[in-house]
């Protein structure tokens, strides 16, 4: 704030000292702008003095009832400020020393300098690791069980395949054998048929020639 404002304010309140009065008058003479401000301030003062206050229209003033009197008991007058101050100090100390109060599993823990937070983090990490370990164990157990079941399935399928394959081969071998035996029998029958036919021809021919005794053996 400039000296002019201060001088102007002192003049308005009529508190100029003799020395300040001289400076003020010199300023009024030398500084037109300041002189105009002073002149206007005088006009405003006059106008404010001449201002006739307007009457207040009729209005309903609210009725007042008994007010609660301020409690002047000792604890409010003396103890409360002291208590407030003490609580402020406690709060300040708690902030400065980073005091943390935690309630966990029914136990109350007070820690300083963020130790409680580190413990909390460690506890949470341990819990997460334990949970992860349990999950992995369950997954491994499930995996091994599935592998075992899969192996059993494959083994039973292989066994049934082997059984069915050997049965089929045996059936085919027997069929081949029977076919061979039947073929052999057919060949034998044809051989014996030819022998009989030859013998029959010799028998029919023998009475005619009288040479029954000279029948040649069947070949």
């Amino acid at each position: 704030m400039s000296d002019k404002h201060e001088l102007f304010a002192l003049w308005l309140e009529g508190r100029l000292s003799a020395e300040q009065q001289q400076v003020f008058e010199r300023l009024c003479a030398d500084d037109d702008e300041f002189a105009r401000q002073v002149s206007l301030a005088r006009q405003v003062e006059q106008a404010a003095t001449r201002y006739e206050e307007q009457p207040v229209p009729n209005w309903q003033i609210p009725a007042i009832g008994p007010q609660p009197v301020a409690d002047s008991s000792w604890w409010r007058g003396r103890a409360m400020p002291s208590l407030s101050f003490a609580m402020s100090i406690v709060a300040l100390v708690m902030v400065l020393f980073r005091v943390e109060v935690q309630v966990h599993g029914g136990s109350l823990t007070v820690s300083f300098a963020g130790q409680g937070r580190e413990d909390e983090i460690r506890r949470q990490v341990d819990a997460e690791i334990a949970q992860f370990r349990e999950q992995q164990q369950v997954l491994l157990a499930n995996y091994s069980r599935e592998m075992r079941e899969q192996q059993q399935d494959v083994s039973s399928q292989l066994t049934s395949y082997l059984l069915s394959a050997s049965r089929t081969e045996r059936r085919e071998d027997f069929a081949e054998l029977i076919k061979f035996v039947n073929q052999q029998r057919e060949d034998d029958q044809q051989f014996y048929a030819r022998q009989f036919n030859k013998l029959q021809q010799q028998v029919y021919l023998a009475p005619e020639t009288g040479q029954r005794d000279n029948l040649s053996p069947i070949k």
């Binding site: 404002h5 304010a9 401000q37 307007q54 609210p62 008994p66």
Partner: protein, 180 residues
């Protein structure tokens, strides 16, 4: 003859004496109403402000500790209600120097101020920002000291002096333009 002091009336009012309360209100309602008239330039707004101010006084009387004069406390409340009034009127406008609250809607011509110079001054005051207008009003019309005004407005007395000086400068411009 024997006029009861403000403190006596307040003490009685706090005990539920309605007569003391009415006296207290009647002692200051004219000053508050005219403060509202000069600040808003409108009789209806001044009446609304009067009722709001005394309603606040009614609610907060027990918190008055008597550390300063009752009149200064009353006008501090009046100033707060005035700021709220302007905020309501303009929805919201920041109370800084770049965006001064100037009541362009004020209708001073409807006021029945007999003295032409006073009427002209009140009209010109409506062109000032709320801060400047409040300082001019409290200094010249309500006759408070700079220290009291500073306490009421919640600023330093140097700020009050600067605002008054600047306010008078603007007032001069407005009045010169009007006369030209």
């Amino acid at each position: 003859m024997f006029e009861q002091s403000d403190e006596t009336l307040i003490r009685k009012a706090l005990k539920g004496n309605n007569g003391a309360w009415q006296k207290l209100v009647k002692r200051y309602d004219k000053a508050v109403y005219n403060y509202g008239l000069r600040m808003t330039g409108n009789a209806d707004d001044a009446m609304d402000l009067l009722q709001e101010v005394f309603l606040s006084v009614f609610r907060n009387l027990q918190s008055f500790r008597g550390e300063g004069s009752f009149k200064a406390w009353l006008f501090r409340i009046a100033h707060h209600r005035m700021v709220e009034f302007y905020r309501r009127k303009r929805d919201y406008q920041p109370l800084d120097e770049e965006n001064p609250l100037v009541d362009e809607l004020a209708c001073v011509s409807r006021l029945t101020i007999a003295d032409a110079q006073s009427r002209e001054l009140v009209r010109a005051m409506q062109q000032l920002s709320l801060e400047q207008k409040a300082v001019v009003e409290l200094k010249f019309f309500s006759q408070f000291t700079f220290e009291e005004i500073a306490e009421q407005l919640g600023v330093s007395s140097n700020t009050v002096k600067s605002r008054l000086y600047a306010g008078l400068g603007k007032l001069k411009d407005v009045m010169e333009v009007h006369y030209v």
